[in-house]
């Protein structure tokens, strides 16, 4: 499935008509959001912790060059090897070179957003190295030959019936007669994957944090796949974005817990694994060779700009689950590796705004994302900034279209009832090519649902700021 963020309108429109998707999102995204809210309500001093976590991330960014050097020094001292990659191609080639050096043919991979961003698996497969996803959700996505629709829960868009069908048709699982039991499907996947863990000659992981003072790569999973995928295989390659650095273990203690609470409502993920280096020579398991690839791929372009804060993201997914737009259209509609509110910020920044023009507008600016964010990232402000950047470059007609479109996300009445947002969206997107250039058409369809409001006379930016100030207090801060 090719990624194309510029087709958001069309894809969102299609998504809104997909009843199965709607059922899956209604269940999965809302439940995830409710779980987080419950867990945060039970947290003492949640706001202090949020600022404590944010501080840790901002300190990591402020000292990024030094902390990266410290990381490298620490890893190297323990016998690991650190590689630096400027872009996706360089990172992918480094992994391939490691495979060639050690004669690796088959790897097991644990869930990692950065490897999605690099399109690492298709690259390796093209060069004859087979990769198997081991996170249950990512495994389903791989068998389905589709893409993850969420950064934490890759199959948030699927119902169990769909997964059952896939396992029966593609993997030869015995079909279940009556009730489809997730437990039976999980057992099946465990057995299927277990044998392959033993066949694999290397493991690939991402990293949630880099603890600079010891050069430790921290990763969290609930299934144990990352830990198993680096216990049996002689080579471990960890691929991590350069922005993931935090200074100390105290910072880690805060963040690993707030990450779990925000992502799934757990106190801690089941396996908070910490990698320091290759196994010592007398150890009975663990990798003999340990590589860490530090990936830039556009991050240094964001660093130091007004969007720097986006680099503080710990990829918990809370802003996706809580977003009225995500809840209605799901992750695939964004046409990007990183969907949802934070994706709408970083996709244009990483891939170029011209490749993701609709995304900064795919938001009601309601502020739910900022309120949910465990490191208090001001997503609405950055979306506004991106809108502003785009408007400087685009034609007046385009600007008018985008104003109308964002209005449809922002109108309080529409926002109150998510369904009406959907109705408005499907109307607004019904132009031939789904682009808002065809303004009169979509607006015509749109006014069938609602009375059309007069355009604000002021600039969109001013208008939004006024709106926002009027609504402050909803922001949770």
């Amino acid at each position: 499935m090719a990624l194309d963020a510029n087709r958001f309108a069309e894809a969102a429109s299609r998504a809104l008509q997909d009843k199965q998707l709607k059922a899956a999102l209604d269940h999965n995204a809302r439940l995830a959001d409710a779980t987080r809210i419950k867990s945060m309500a039970a947290t003492t001093g949640a706001e202090t912790l949020r600022q404590q976590g944010r501080g840790a991330r901002l300190r990591g960014l402020a000292q990024l060059p030094e902390l990266l050097e410290q990381t490298e020094e620490q890893i190297t001292a323990r016998g690991g090897q650190v590689l630096w990659a400027r872009d996706a191609d360089e990172a992918n080639r480094q992994v391939l070179a490691i495979c060639q050096r050690h004669g690796l043919r088959f790897g097991v991979k644990s869930k990692s957003m950065v490897t999605e961003e690099l399109h690492l698996v298709p690259f390796l497969e093209k060069h004859g190295v087979r990769m198997l996803e081991t996170d249950l959700g990512e495994f389903v996505v791989q068998v389905d030959e589709s893409r993850p629709s969420h950064i934490v829960a890759p199959i948030m868009h699927m119902k169990k019936e769909g997964i059952h069908k896939l396992f029966v048709e593609k993997l030869g699982m015995e079909p279940m007669e009556d009730d489809i039991d997730p437990q039976v499907m999980t057992r099946f996947a465990r057995q299927y994957l277990r044998r392959r863990y033993f066949e694999a000659d290397f493991g690939i992981t991402g990293g949630n944090f880099i603890i600079a003072e010891t050069g430790t790569i921290a990763i969290t999973t609930n299934e144990g796949n990352a830990r198993l995928g680096t216990a049996l295989q002689p080579v471990h390659v960890a691929i991590v974005g350069i922005e993931k650095v935090i200074p100390t273990w105290e910072d880690y203690a805060t963040l690993v817990q707030t990450l779990a609470r925000s992502a799934t409502g757990q106190q801690l993920s089941v396996y908070s694994t910490l990698y320091n280096g290759p196994a010592l020579s007398e150890e009975g398991d663990g990798p003999q060779h340990y590589y860490v690839i530090l990936v830039d791929n556009g991050r240094s372009d964001i660093y130091g700009t007004q969007y720097s804060e986006a680099l503080a993201c710990i990829r918990c997914g809370a802003c996706l689950n809580t977003c009225p737009v995500y809840q209605n259209v799901g992750g695939h509609a964004y046409g990007a590796v990183y969907p949802g509110p934070i994706g709408s910020v970083i996709t244009p920044l990483l891939t170029g705004v011209e490749n993701a023009t609709p995304l900064p507008f795919a938001s009601s600016l309601c502020g739910a994302c900022k309120a949910a964010c465990p490191v208090d990232i001001n997503i609405p402000d950055m979306l506004l900034g991106l809108r502003h950047d785009l408007q400087e470059e685009q034609s007046p007609l385009w600007r008018l279209g985008m104003q109308a479109w964002s209005w449809s996300f922002s109108h309080p009445l529409l926002y109150e009832t998510g369904r009406k947002v959907s109705a408005a969206l499907s109307g607004a997107f019904s132009g031939e090519d789904g682009k808002l250039r065809s303004l009169p058409g979509p607006l015509g369809a749109w006014t069938e649902h609602r009375d059309f409001p007069p355009f604000p006379q002021e600039s969109f930016h001013d208008w939004w700021r006024r709106e926002r100030d009027g609504q402050s207090g909803q922001d949770g801060d």
Partner: protein, 226 residues
């Protein structure tokens, strides 16, 4: 040094002026999970509540003899005949090897050449560096004779823990490492904070245990000082 490295670091150094101000590190970090009662009993009771809430199992025994009985009972219940264990000196229960031998349970330790045999074991037995009451977690780290596989491969994982290793919070564990100048951490190739049995909720948020790691996590806590 590689060209990529120099370029990336150079770009970051050139751009850093535009960064938002970062607050100084707090003098005292607020723990994420707070404990009302940090007495020995308080810690044990919280640890039990938390881990049981995750469908882990906690067995508190008064002494080593009772601990041996408990381990044998757990193995008898699951019907395990082969146990993958850490090297004996690293499991805080003298006499365990002998006791398992007496009831005919085969034991083995992981080496790079016995992977298939490890996979056949139905139970894993290990110790732990520490346990964390507030979150119901166990901290394990690797060293020769303290491998990853015993804690990971078999469907049943039994952990022997001295009560004195129970700490209030993850933050307290970090403080302990800090007091040691992170020296312990530095010698380990791998650490893991295990919080409950392996699980997934990927399929419609249904909770399923034992995905890639053990579905049963059983902690035998031996009370008192060693």
């Amino acid at each position: 040094m590689s060209e990529a490295r120099e370029q990336i670091l150079g770009r970051l150094r050139d751009a850093r002026d535009g960064l938002p101000d970062a607050p100084a590190a707090p003098e005292r970090y607020q723990p994420v999970s707070v404990l009302d009662d940090e007495s020995a009993e308080g810690l044990l009771s919280r640890f039990r509540t938390e881990l049981e809430g995750l469908q882990g199992e906690v067995y508190v025994v008064p002494d080593e003899e009772a601990a041996l009985d408990q381990v044998l009972t757990l193995l008898a219940e699951s019907g395990a005949r082969h146990a993958l264990t850490w090297d004996w000196p690293h499991i805080p229960l003298p006499g365990l090897a002998h006791a398992l031998g007496e009831v005919g349970i085969d034991t083995l330790q992981a080496t790079p050449d016995n992977r298939e045999a490890c996979e056949a074991a139905e139970a894993g037995i290990s110790g732990a560096d520490a346990a964390i009451a507030a979150t119901g977690s166990l901290v394990v780290s690797t060293a020769p004779g303290m491998g990853r596989l015993a804690t990971l491969l078999p469907p049943q994982h039994i952990v022997l823990l001295r009560q004195e290793r129970l700490l209030p919070s993850l933050e307290a564990w970090v403080a302990q490492q800090r007091a040691d100048d992170l020296a312990h951490l530095g010698t380990r190739s791998n650490l893991c904070i295990i919080t409950g049995p392996s699980r997934t909720a990927d399929i419609e948020k249904n909770l399923v245990l034992g995905v890639h790691g053990p579905g049963r996590l059983q902690v035998v806590v031996v009370e008192g000082e060693s």
